[in-house]
Amino acid sequence: MSSKNQDHISLTPASNEIFDIVVIGAGVVGCAIARGFVLEGAHVAIVEKASDILDGASKANSAILHTGFDAPSGSLELDCIRDGYQEYMEIHQELGLPLEKTGAHVVAWNDEEVARLDSILSQAHANGVADVALIGKKELQTLEPNLSGNALAAISVPGEAIIDPWSAPYSYLRQALLNGAEAFFTCEVEAGTFDNGVWQLQTSRGTLKSRHVINCAGLYGDQINEKLLGRSTFGIMPRKGQFVVFDKAAHSLVNSVILPVPSERTKGIVIFQTVFGNLAVGPTAEDQISRRDVSTDKDTLQSLINAGIDKIPALKHMPVTAVYAGLRPATENKDYQIELDETQNWITVGGIRSTGLSGALGISKYVYKLYSQTGNKHKPVKNPQLPKSPVLIEASTQGLRRDWQKSDHEEVVCHCELVTKREIEQALEGSLAARSLAGLKRQTRVTMGRCQGFYCTARLAELTDGHFSNPIAKKINNG
């Protein structure tokens, strides 16, 4: 194994100090909580079993920052989404995170759906999202001229926005690390004991000590509770969502997020732009046993394509760029499962099913409130350090330039997404260094464009030599 990859190394005695908090799991929720607690002044460690962050539910979602207009009224989920949305608005500029306030339209495609729009409207208003309004066919056609003629009416939700699902959590965790947190990767929590107010967590890399533990293990949240607390009040029932991403040429076919009238079980199939300039259709909602299996299947993908064409006929000639699937950590309950076990200094943050990207910052606030209610207190960091995020989108609202637009980037490596050698090298260094191709993709977008690695995989194999435990390619011995 290479010298650059340190993950096989056991935890050092230095990391054997007693942390205030250990966060289990570096999904978007764990990253936001790590940041929140660090800024409140706690000494935090975050442990992640994968080599890179965002390897679970957070690796693949629709990247919509929800207003909460359709969340169940009175739910904890609604509170967290509202707070999370609010905080994202406040901090995205200083963290250099993208935000495109495209708005959304809940479109009714038949009379039955038209009849349901009123109740969606009143729920939105009850949820405090005041600017939501009903619009008729004509207005909808002016706003979304490429929708098929079968679109009858819509609820307009001006506040819904699209963001980068990866750079946001990366930035949360970067800020946590800059202000004193520690992160341990390929570090799986396997067991633990709680004695005299201190948790001893047995991990695949050694023992970590902490006064409090926050379980943010996403798709494994119930298993962690069973293993370490001996019980879980919920069970994870993974729900897969598959997506099709169309060519960038399709981006301009919509101006807002096109939502369906939702059913009991799911928000349904959405047509949305990505901040990177593509157009995507998905997700499906498929219950499954496996907590890892994110495979896609041809028939489902084809049906997504057909559903897209049905709503936007011009999609017919658009090439497919990518396909992917994500797993929602659903449970038997609808709402978030956030519980404090006061006797064991343990907080469970589980079942963050389908709104965790929007809710994460709000969840962090709520969890800190729970924690401080039991008498825990720290001194908030006065002038927290701000991390720098790479600029990954062209039309940056903050007027930031991409690296390819600047001098001395040396080389454009990924031609489709215009990722430079300098950006790749930066992502391979530092406390959140990419240790897998998947991690490098999430940090830089390499190979995520039209050619999907046809042109740059060979160069990437060379540039990433020694950095990945599962290398892209190995050297040929015979020369």
């Binding site: 299947d297 041809k298 993908l301 090439p319 760029t321 990518a322 600047k406 046809f454």
Partner: protein, 436 residues
């Protein structure tokens, strides 16, 4: 878009650019050489890789150069030879120069190590070639494990970077590139476990001199037994159903011609062929795209919907050999040189070729200007499946063209433009295929 004045142009001089060529592959380089030979003064080739030469630079195997140099060269040697010829006639080749946007009036947004910059050219030759269809667009079922690559990526890994991503992959496809992939594997010590093709016959049709050992064997038989000689079982009429494995590929499921499903243990998947034009600049710019070819819409001069732009080489349509593209580039160079001198014959009228049969994959060029004089002499067609029958051209009620053919997937069929159009006195032409 570019919010900063570049102090020094990365192209090194302020002399107006007569023709900028996007892409330094065989077609772009031959266009450049021809332009210089026709007396055009400043011709710049913009190439995003570290060296010009295009795809052949990545193909460490023969045969290249038969059409152009009357001898058999390996890809890299062929590429070097083209670059040397271009340099000899003072074509400016700018490598590590990526064209990011192609805009009206020959305005190009480029990036180099100097950063982003806008340049202007009198004419632009668009010659960015083809790539293979990736796993995603093929909608193949399974996970996104590592070890799934196109043959182009494998070739660059093996020949340019001396690396291999797997040891025992399965090869999907039976186009010529699929067979050269066997050579690539052989070179790297990779041992493919199986090769499958979706059609009942081998798709490849290019010269079998790639495989010198088979010279005396009839072509198709040669290709059929070639994998076996290399110890690779070949299944025709077989489909890839799904890819299994976690981080890496562990096996694939295939369905054989008789409907039986099989699990094939392997550690990688090579997706070969299914070429698509690298038409990024058109897709996200102002040039019209023909969904049938995937390349820009052109007339027989190669002129795009914005006539400042002329497309050539494999970008026009998937996919031809280097020699063919080299020839097309040469013609494009000549036409653009004439155009700059206002010597390109004007059209009296322009007809559009419509396809009204789903068996026809594409026909290029999409527009034909009349009267015919210069430019492409033929309409190039491809078909989706094998069939025997008639290609019929109709204009209004009238049949203007009829020819008996036997077609195969990915095999080029050409129709002389004069034969197709000489009876078409007005309107456009519909092409259909009548099976017999």
């Amino acid at each position: 878009m570019v919010d900063r004045a570049v102090e020094k142009s990365s192209l090194g001089s302020d002399i107006p650019i007569d023709v900028a060529i996007i892409g330094g592959g065989p077609s772009g380089l031959s266009a450049a050489i021809e332009l210089k030979r026709c007396g055009v003064s400043r011709v710049v080739v913009l190439e995003r890789e570290s060296e010009a030469g295009g795809i052949p630079r990545h193909c460490g195997h023969p045969p290249f150069g038969m059409r152009e140099f009357k001898r058999i060269l390996t890809g890299p040697n062929y590429a070097k030879k083209l670059v040397a010829l271009a340099s000899a006639v003072e074509v400016e080749i700018h490598t590590m120069t990526t064209v990011v946007e192609a805009r009206p009036d020959g305005e190009l947004l480029i990036t180099t190590n100097f950063g982003a910059e806008v340049i202007n050219a009198g004419r632009v030759i668009y010659a960015t070639g083809v790539r293979e269809m990736p796993r995603s667009a093929r909608l193949i079922s399974g996970k996104r494990n590592s070890g799934i690559v196109n043959s182009g990526a494998l070739q660059s890994m093996v020949y340019l970077k001396h690396r291999m991503p797997f040891k025992r992959p399965i090869i999907i496809g039976t186009e010529l590139v699929s067979f050269s992939t066997i050579m690539t594997c052989h070179h790297a010590g990779i041992k493919p476990v199986t090769m499958i093709g979706e059609h009942d016959e081998i798709t490849a049709r290019w010269p079998y001199s790639v495989f010198p050992g088979l010279i005396d064997i009839p072509f198709r038989t040669g290709l059929r037994i070639f994998p076996r000689i290399m110890g690779i079982p070949l299944h025709l009429g077989a489909r890839l159903i799904a890819i299994d494995g976690d981080d890496n590929v562990s096996s694939v499921q295939i369905e054989l011609a008789n409907g039986i499903r099989q699990t094939v243990e392997c550690d990688g998947v090579i997706l070969t062929g299914k070429f698509t034009p690298e038409a990024t600049l058109a897709l996200s710019g102002h040039l019209d795209i023909d969904p049938a070819t995937g390349g820009p819409v052109v007339d027989q001069y190669g002129r795009c919907s914005d006539p400042v732009y002329c497309a050539t080489g494999n970008l026009l349509r998937p996919g031809e050999t280097a020699g063919w593209c080299w020839n097309e580039g040469r013609q494009a160079g000549r036409l653009v040189a004439d155009d700059l001198k206002n010597k390109l014959p004007e059209f009296d009228r322009r007809i559009q070729i419509y396809l009204s049969d789903t068996l026809i994959k594409y026909a290029m060029p999409k527009f034909v200007g009349l009267p015919l004089s210069a430019g492409m002499e033929d309409l190039q067609l491809r078909f989706k499946n094998s069939a025997k029958g008639y290609i019929i051209g109709t204009s209004g009620e009238e049949t203007v063209y009829r020819r008996k053919v036997s077609v195969h997937p990915e095999h080029r069929v050409i129709i002389a433009l004069d034969k197709l159009t000489n009876k078409c006195s007005e309107g456009n032409i519909q092409l259909t295929f009548e099976e017999r």
